[in-house]
Amino acid sequence: MLLAAVGLNHYLLVGAALFCAGLVAVMSRRNAVAILIGIELMLNAANINLVAFDHFRAQIDGQPVIDGQLFVLFVLVIAAAEAAVALALILNVFDTRDRIDVDELDTLKG
């Protein structure tokens, strides 16, 4: 067989890759929006793992397992809330300082 049958490991690997990509973004980027992008990637990596575990457990149990999917939906909600607030903050920072380089945001004063 040219390609191995797709199992849980494959999904977990995709998740790990996604997570590492997000981590790289968070670690190396200076732009706040880009950091947010990295965070979203990491959240998605976690979501893939959740759904994958769900799916393969359902295959073992022979009945639908939805706990992981429910978690994913909550993560979606939180990601949406986080993105909205974070972007509002970024816009605010941009408004007062005319830049959004997080390395320069090291004082507590506006």
Partner: protein, 179 residues
């Protein structure tokens, strides 16, 4: 005329789709992480979202897959792009990263992925004896969300969270105009 000599590739189709989606997801994610232009990063993120949604669909989570599209692509991504557009005037949007830090981050990311891959590969997960069709989950999710013994309270709390985020974001963005 018999055409049976054609190879039966049907068993390979899911694999092909998976590898396609996985490649798309990972490449897009890496693009999002390192693209010099933030806008390109944002659209890389979109491709990654699509790939993840596709993976969800492959895992039989159709509701989650389309939630992913409607929320991430239709909502969060649009917000992000708006954020990029509204803050695009400075050189920071060009992501002139410090090379040393980027090298460090890339190395760390690669090492971490390497270690994780080894860890995943060396773990044996219990596997189903025979693969079965994914079962529909939409109505189960709906019932779980409205069942007081399951997820009703988290669901309601999540709605409160969204409301709070809405108000908070609106407030923060509003101050901006007054100044």
């Amino acid at each position: 005329m018999s055409l049976a000599f054609l190879p039966d590739l049907s068993g390979l189709i899911p694999e092909l789709i998976f590898y396609g989606l996985a490649a798309m997801t990972v490449l897009a994610a890496i693009g999002a992480a390192v693209a010099p232009k933030i806008v390109h990063a944002a659209f890389g993120l979109m491709a990654a979202f699509f790939g993840v949604a596709g993976l969800y669909a492959m895992l039989g989570a159709d509701f989650v897959a389309f939630s992913q599209i409607i929320v991430y692509v239709g909502g969060i991504l649009v917000l992000l792009v708006f954020g990029v557009l509204l803050t695009a005037r400075t050189e920071a949007s060009l992501g002139l990263e410090r090379p040393l830090r980027r090298a460090f981050a890339l190395t760390t990311g690669a090492v971490l992925f390497f270690v994780l891959a080894i860890a995943i590969d060396s773990t044996t997960f219990p596997a189903a004896t025979e693969a079965s069709e994914p079962l529909p989950t939409t109505s189960a999710i709906g019932h779980a969300f409205l069942d007081p013994e399951k997820m009703l309270i988290p669901f309601e709390v999540a709605s409160v969270l969204l409301l709070a985020a809405l108000i908070g974001a609106a407030y923060l963005a509003r101050r901006r105009r007054s100044s």
